[in-house]
Every structure is written in structure tokens, then in C-alpha cells.
């Protein structure tokens, strides 16, 4: 796997993929900066009127439902559908799935309609989507007092991967990436990462950059490895969450590819 990750990093650096994000207002700036620091090019646009033109030049599309409303959801559906028709990769970040019915339903609708290549979220979002499907299927869900969130999330990730034919990337202290058959883990990062807004959304954006340059499983692993390496190095230099962000973007730009690649292991 290490060789594949190194090859993916070289491919992104050579290609500088144009990653189109339809994302939430809170993280637009940090996601764009993360893409630039990761040697990709950001594009943010949401108007239905330009989706056909833009999906013709995009190398990947990242859909993020963080500050969703019905207008933006229809642009996401349109852009996602166009990208798949044009044979290009789509990443979905189901921000806040489980927190509101609107978000849970929007994420499931995008999974079903667009069929993204990669679903990238945190454990609670992935579990919420799986639970919603099981409820609809009248499958018994696990009790709420389960103590092993990481194992639960992995089982939900495998279910969703098989159901929607995608790779699922779950971020946490250890990140897990699975296509339902094969599962990989990525170690690293910093406890300061959850204290900076947009770190998960930046992981999704960078996953888009890597999806433009290789197969979904490798792309999802490479993106999380890059985040984990830069995050760990930045965490050692930062005095707190404020100084973490500039340090993180510097480390992302100056990436030690070997350090990133050795963080991925099969589970």
C-alpha cells in the first residue's frame, strides 16, 4: 500500500487537480487553502446555471451538506449527476447527518441518486446514515449503549460501502477506510484538530484531489494519510488551536510523503 500512496501523492503534485466544492459557508476559506497547500486547485460554485460548464473542466467534485438548504441541495444533485455522467469522481461529506432529518435525508438522497465514489464523514454521521437505512429496512439496530464507537462505525461503514458501491472513509483518532471488502487504517493527527473548524471538511476536499488521481480506496487512504502527517507535525509546533491552523497549512504544503505513506496499514 505504501507504494500506492507515494504514487498517488506524486500524481496529485503533477496534475494539480481542479477540485470543485459545493460546500458549507463556514469552511470555504479553509478548504480552499487546504487544497492549495495540498498542491491542488480549488473552485467553489453553486449556481445551477454554470454546472454543465464547470463539470466539464472539474477534475473532481466534493459535496458537503454543512449549511444545506433546498436550493443548494438541488445544485448538488445536478452537479453530482453531471460529474458521474462525465465519468469523473464525486466525494460526499454528510456533515451533521443524524442532527436533523433534512441532513440525514439529503445525504441518503445524494448517495442513492449520485452514487458518489467516496463517502467521507465522522463516526456519528456514518452510524446515523446506517441506522436510518436499517430503520427503513426494518433491520434491528444495535442498542444505544454500545461502548465501542470505533467498531460500530466500522461496521456501519462496511454496510454503507456495500449498499451504495462506494468507498467509505471514517475520520477519528484512527481513521478507517473501507470498500466493504478491504479495510485500512490511518494513524496520526493531533488532539488540536477537532478544535479547528473545517478540518474534516478539508479532509473531504483533499480526498477529492486524490480521487482525481487514482482509485477511490487508495485516494481515500492517501488523503487521510496526508492529513494525519501534516496534522501531527503541526500539533507539535502549535501553542493552541489558533497557531495550529497556519502550521497545519505549512506542513501540508511541505509534506513529507514518506511519513504520510507509512501511516496506512491494512486491518
Amino acid at each position: 500500500m505504501k507504494e500506492k500512496i507515494l504514487a498517488a501523492i506524486s500524481a496529485v503534485y503533477a496534475r494539480k487537480p481542479l477540485v470543485h466544492s459545493i460546500t458549507n459557508f463556514v469552511v470555504m476559506q479553509v478548504s480552499a487553502n487546504a487544497l492549495l497547500a495540498a498542491h491542488a486547485s480549488p473552485l467553489m460554485a453553486h449556481a445551477a446555471e454554470e454546472m454543465d460548464d464547470l463539470t466539464s473542466i472539474d477534475d473532481a467534485l466534493v459535496l458537503n451538506i454543512g449549511t444545506l438548504d433546498p436550493d443548494w441541495l438541488s445544485s448538488m444533485e445536478l452537479a453530482g449527476t453531471l460529474m458521474k455522467k462525465k465519468g469523473k469522481p464525486v466525494v460526499l461529506d454528510p456533515v451533521g447527518a443524524g442532527a436533523s432529518g433534512l441532513r440525514t435525508r439529503a445525504a441518503l438522497r445524494l448517495l442513492d441518486l449520485v452514487r458518489p465514489d467516496i463517502l467521507r464523514g465522522n463516526a456519528s454521521e456514518i452510524m446515523a446514515l446506517d441506522a436510518e437505512i436499517r430503520a427503513a429496512d426494518k433491520v434491528l439496530t444495535k442498542g444505544v449503549d454500545s461502548r465501542n464507537e470505533s467498531a460500530d462505525a466500522l461496521s456501519s461503514a462496511r454496510n454503507l460501502a456495500l449498499r451504495f458501491g462506494c468507498t467509505v472513509s471514517v475520520s477519528g483518532e484512527t481513521d478507517f477506510i473501507t470498500d466493504g471488502h478491504e479495510t485500512l487504517a490511518v494513524e496520526g493527527g493531533s488532539p488540536l484538530m477537532p478544535l479547528v473548524t473545517g478540518m474534516g471538511c478539508s479532509a473531504s476536499a483533499i480526498t477529492g484531489a486524490y480521487a482525481a488521481a487514482g482509485d477511490p480506496l487508495t485516494a481515500a487512504c492517501a488523503a487521510m494519510a496526508v492529513m494525519a502527517s501534516a496534522g501531527e507535525k503541526a500539533g507539535k509546533k502549535a501553542a493552541g488551536p489558533g497557531s495550529f491552523l497556519p502550521a497545519f497549512l505549512d506542513e501540508l504544503y511541505l509534506l513529507d510523503a514518506e511519513d504520510a505513506a507509512r501511516r496506512v496499514r491494512r486491518v
Copy 2:
């Protein structure tokens, strides 16, 4: 008061309140980062379709009219009304009140309809709202050549507090907080704070976090004390407004609670 402020800080750290902001596009990232650094959790969402779900999990709501339009205003009205019905605190930041009729009217409408627990603005916004009400009531307004803006703002704050049954928190070189009967002052901060966008909006967001953990008067004082302490420390380390922001978020996270608490005094 010092003991109350220390207790409020402990309560926020223990509870990590979920603060839902319907705020302006300019400050979403910095407000979310300020909430995270202040040991709270941010949520940004504006779609009417998810307001009932989200107000069920929110610990506090912050309404900020900085980049207002009629759609967002109706979401603010809906969310504010739902929160009050559910017995949870609402903070209003009337950004730009006085600069346009839309903003002045929107702020007054939200004050009247939602009855926020805390109104938090700068001196000119608070005076503009008071002047608008006096004009509507045909009360004679003070002359425009008044030289003591701070005293004028405090008198406007007391009027608004009594009229709408809320706590009013006015930021400035010295911050004033009043419920119309009791008045407190907070000293500190840095001359670099007005040179960074979103410092006032972050103060409102943090006021939301403290409103989730105690009475409005203490909450408003504690939030301004936390801002003043972190701002003063960051100001000493920063070379300019660019390095101020990361330093401020670091200091907010590493807060010296004793230093914050001793900044509040009765007037």
C-alpha cells in the same frame, strides 16, 4: 461577581454547550473557531426545514444580522421563536443597525418577536436602536453633538434592556453590561481587536455559550471578560492584526480564568 464568573467558566468547560449561530458569511469561520477555542461546540445552519430538529439539540442560539436578507431573517424569526418556546437562551447581535433601514427594522423586529435574553452590539448599534424606538414613540432624542458616546450608549442600553426585558452588552474600550437595573463594566482587550473582522461577532457567539450555562447578566459579563483577557494577552504577543488572530484563539483556549474574572466590576 468574581465567583459567579469563575463558576460560569467552569460550567461552560464542563458542558461544552452546542451553540447554533445564524450569522453572517464574513465571520462564520472565526466564530466557529472562537467557540471551539472557548470550549463550546459550534453549529451553523439556516434552513427553515431543519429548525425544529436543530433547536431541539441546541443549547443556545445566536442571531447575527451582518449579511442579512429576507430569507435568512425569516429563518432567524423561526429559530428564535422555537428556542424561546423550548425555554432556551437566544442572543441577538444587531450588526450594522443604523446603517440601513433593513437592519434597524430587522433588529427591532427580532427584539420584539423573539425577545432574546441578551442583546450584544457596539455603541453605535445600541444607540441607533434606541433612537429608532424614541423616534417611533416621538420621544425627543438627544442632540447629535453629544461628546460622551460611552455614557450615551449606556443610557441607550438601559432603555433597551427595560423595554425588551433583556440584558444588553455593549462592547467598546470598556464593555458595559446592564439589565436596566444593575450595570457592570469589563476592562481589557487590545487596540488590535477592531482591526480583525469578527471579533464582535465572536463575542456574541461566546455570549451564547455562556448563556447556555447561567443567568443572562452573568453570562454576558463572563463572555466579555473571557474576550478581554484573551484579547489583552494576544495583543501583547502580536506584531499586527494578522498574527493577532491565531494568538487570540490560542489565548482563548488556554484561558487564565482568574485573570478573566477579575476584569468585571460593578458600575
Copy 3:
């Protein structure tokens, strides 16, 4: 020219112009911070309902089509028209012109309808707008394999300046500013600038501040000189794009006016 640039800087510092931006979501925070660091005042607002009130207090208006949609475009048209009627300067940044028909048409429509004082973009945007007009006019366009992008962009800039009676400011390794008759160049900046989102949009915002304080040609040169000076100094201090941004805002605030002014030369 050097004396004019120094006078423009003094004028901005004395007046602290209120610059109203209708801009894209990605760069709102950084543009506001750049304006504050450049000793101006930012205002962001897009609601048609407050355009008449706000254009009465604005000193300049900056229109930026970066995350355009039809609603925002009509607010831009309204605000731009009102500003010109009130005799105040308008700057247009045609972000992404050429990437989609929506953006190319929107930029040309705003040029035609509003008649901005200054058009500020990068080489590819300026060339795309010129190409679109030549195509409409059935003028033969240059071959796509032209190797001298800088010379091509300058020729496009002159065409657009004459066509729309405006100053055109083209950013690149060397910036070119022309009113169609006179042309000036600005040297400086840092290779890290294209790796931080919103640097071009901040240049447009600062161009707005300078347009409030003098003639368009001097304003456009002064703004690019200020960017080039602060960018070059920040680039020497930064470890990467993350530490560049805070350093840039610090240098903008602490500007060495002499250093900025000597960067402008006639071509």
C-alpha cells in the same frame, strides 16, 4: 508617479474609506481583514432591500463574481448602478470569467451596464473577456498557442479599457495597469501568494479603498503596490502558505509606504 502613490496612501490612511463588497463566500473573511489591515473599513451586504441606504454611506463598491448566482448578480447590478448614479467608484473583479458562460456573461453585463471605474482580474480572466467581445464582434482572435501570456493579457487589457472607458488592472508576477493610453507595471509579491485563497480578491478590495481616495489609474497602481510590498516582505518571513497569511496582514498594516511607492514604473 511615486509622489502620487505616496499621496494616495496618505489619503486612504486619513479617510479610512468604507468599502462595500458584494463578493464571494470563500474570500469574505480575508477581504475584510485585508481592508482593515490596509486602514480601510469593510462592509459586506447583498440584500437588494438595503442597497439604496448602503450606497449612500459607502465610499466605494467592489463587485466580485466568485460564487455568483442570479440573485446576487441582480444585487450587484442594482448596487453598481446606484453607486455610479451617486458619483462613487466601482471596482469589478471578474473571478472565473472564461470558466463558465454564466461568469463571462455576468462580467460583460456588469461592465456594460454599470461601467465600473476599474476592472481588476488575472491574465486569463482579462483575456477571456476580450476574446468573448472579439468573438461577438467577429474579430479574429489570436491563436491559442501564443507563448507570451503577459503580452497577450496587456493587449486584452488595453482593448477592454478603451471599450468600457475604465482602468484595467491585471495581476501576475508583474502586475500591469492601463487606461488604454498609459500603462504602468508593479513588481513584487511572493510565490506563496497564489497558494493562499483570496489574495486576488483582497487586491480588488484594496483597489476599492484606493479608488475612494483618488483617480482610478493611481488607485489601481497604489493598491497593487501595497499588495506587492506587503506580499514580498511576508513571503520572506513565512515557512509556507499557512504562515504567509498572518504575516501578510501584519505587513499590510505596518506598510512601508516608500517601499510600496517605488515599485510602480511606467511601461
